[in-house]
């Protein structure tokens, strides 16, 4: 077996490149909401970009993703075409799901984005099925299912992790512990110190890892190991990535339940600011290069928004289409 690839300056730059792309899109969409050019329930991934970036860099296009309503970062990191995501946010016929799913239900199998669920904790049982299919086919695919710390208190979490361990499925349970489940703190809702501590309850088949999800090297390395473990058939991993939700639970959340000093500290540690300096210090990219990336991402986003705003709405007949497939 070859030695695992170590984190390099190039990987740091790649992480930041993806994370900055996500932040640019996230900020752009929130800007549209503020400007009244878009109206929807948005659960921004602001501050959680490094986790998605690490996932995206270690997964293949053919690997499966099951994510949640706070899923923009995951969908983009997995490689979904931007115009399909933006089109869906705008509810247009050109969206990934023809405007029928919306931001909370974005799907794009060609990129491996199999399910986006609006129900907390419900993706984990489905991820097991994707993993089971890979196990039967021997196709070597890995399934990642993303959720927050709040979802670790739902019954489906237990059912899914137990089954994944019993069947030794190639599934990564990727928990973004962003300290709040909706408006309730982790400590007020969760009896154990870390979500990853719960892995022990599922025996040796389930690895439990807890890392700083905003530290590029830590999350990159943990993701590398979890993917290698799943792909080799060694079993599932519960990977907890500590992070913070900088834009609250939903767009418009006044965050009154977050102490001001906690928020100030989190803003100061915003990974997009912090890692930018790390990238420059490591010589992985210059400030000018990074500014160039951002300008390029902004141009891509502007083009996607312009295309979405010009695109037609779905035909009204769509309400009664895709309810069932063709008659058997």
């Amino acid at each position: 077996m070859t030695a695992a690839k170590e984190f390099s300056a190039a990987d740091l730059a790649a992480m930041y490149h993806k994370a900055l792309y996500i932040r640019t899109v996230d900020e752009g969409i929130r800007g549209m909401l503020r400007a009244g050019r878009l109206a929807l329930a948005m659960h921004p991934p602001t501050g959680q970009e490094m986790i998605a970036a690490a996932m995206g860099l270690h997964l293949e296009q053919s690997d499966y993703l099951v994510t949640i309503y706070r899923g923009l970062h995951d969908q983009l990191a997995k490689g979904m075409p931007l115009e399909l995501v933006v089109g869906e946010y705008f509810g247009r016929a050109t969206g990934a799901c023809k405007g029928k799913g919306g931001p909370m239900h974005i799907t794009h199998p060609a990129s491996g984005v199999m399910v986006t669920s609006g129900v907390v904790g419900s993706g984990m049982p489905i991820a097991n099925g994707l993993g089971w299919a890979s196990q039967i086919k021997g196709d070597g695919r890995v399934t990642v299912t993303c959720f927050g710390d709040g979802a670790s208190n739902i019954g489906a979490f237990h059912e899914a992790l137990n089954l994944a361990a019993v069947w030794k499925l190639p599934v990564i349970f990727l928990c973004a512990n962003n300290r709040y489940g909706e408006m309730t703190t982790y400590a007020d809702a969760t009896a154990c110190e870390k979500v990853a501590d719960r892995a022990a309850a599922y025996g040796p088949n389930m690895a439990g890892v807890s890392v700083d999800g905003n530290d590029p090297e830590a999350i990159w390395t943990a993701m590398r190991d979890a993917v290698a473990r799943a792909r080799s058939g060694a079993g599932p991993t519960l990977l907890e990535a500590h992070t913070f939700r900088l834009s609250g639970h939903y767009f418009g959340d006044a965050n009154t339940y977050i102490p001001k000093d906690e928020m100030a500290e989190a803003v100061a540690k915003d990974p997009i600011k912090v890692v930018r300096e790390q990238v420059i210090a490591a010589g992985a990219a210059s400030a000018e290069e990074i500014d160039g990336w951002q300008a390029e991402f902004q141009a891509q986003l502007d083009a996607a928004i312009e295309a979405a705003e010009a695109a037609p709405f779905p035909a009204l007949e769509e309400v009664e289409m895709d309810v069932y497939g063709v008659a058997s």
Binding site: Y64, V66, G95, A96, C97, K98, G99, K100, G101, G102, H105, T107, H108, P109, M114, V115, S117, G118, V119, S122, M124, P125, I126, A127, N128, G129, L130, G131, W132, A133, S134, Q135, I136, K137, T143, G155, A156, E159, A160, N162, L163, V166, W167, E318, M321, D322, V323, Y324, G325, V326, A327, S328
Partner: protein, 331 residues
Amino acid sequence: MSEEKMITFTEAYTRALDEAMAADPTVLLLGEDIGDKQGGGVFKVTAGLEGKFGSERVRTTPISEQAIIGAAIGASLAGMRPVAEIMFMNFITVAMDQIVNHAAKLRFMSGGLTSVPITIRTRTGAGTGNGGQHSDMLEAWFAHVPGIKVVVPSSPAEAVGLLRACIEDDDPCLFIEDGVTRVVKGAAPPPDYKIPLGKAHVEREGNDVTVISYGRPLADIRTLADQFAEEGVSVEVVDIRTISPLDVDTIVKSVCKTGRAVIAHEAVRSFGVGAEIAAQIQEHAFSSLKAPVKRVASKDSTVPFARVLENHFIYQPSDIELSIRQVLEGK
């Protein structure tokens, strides 16, 4: 036809699964106790299938209904055709999120990019002395969710044909098996027998009254139709087979012909499948009606334990007979 082979409902389910697995390597089975080591399921429907098709394709699960349905959904998204067994229909309530929010809606919400070709087999029915949490007929709950197909067989041959069709269908199907009649025998169908979903079956033609039903009550209705024939009353019997999507055309066509309709089901009366069928009839066949549409159903209560209470709870064949007589009199 004198040497016609007979099979039980249970043998019919097993045969459909066996044939489907042999015909298509993507057909998988999962559920509690379904493997050979556990005896092939509480009701022995899957007995022998793990040995025949292997432990990859026939998986015993923990007692985890959400995980069972979720795994079926996920595998179906990856091109498989899983058949999940939920031991009793009341236990499906544990997995409602997976069924209602995901299985039923992923095709629509993805704009047709994905589909969920799963079959959920489950067993239920009052009359077994199992009380309030093992006996409910909850088919109306699922029929109320667009995107799911709900299927109930009324004979072993139908059981084979409809279950095969469910497994081959590209949408999630809920296949409901009756616990009381599982050892009742009927004629075995020919090999590879399939019955189209979404089509009601006019199993007996008549001119005076249409009786519409599905599942267990049809055995009573067949007997009653013979009795009424001796009185010179001609009963048309419509077995809807698929509750949802409902074959409204066949029902309406029959009621337009007879002008009288009695709907019978085992489920409780209020807000049920009978209500929907009655509404469809009045919307589409009002001018043909010679009498109000009658519903026969079990009482609006919890399935009780004591045999005397349980018998009193369940619809009675005499209720169906009385309703037929009433509509014949125009009341």
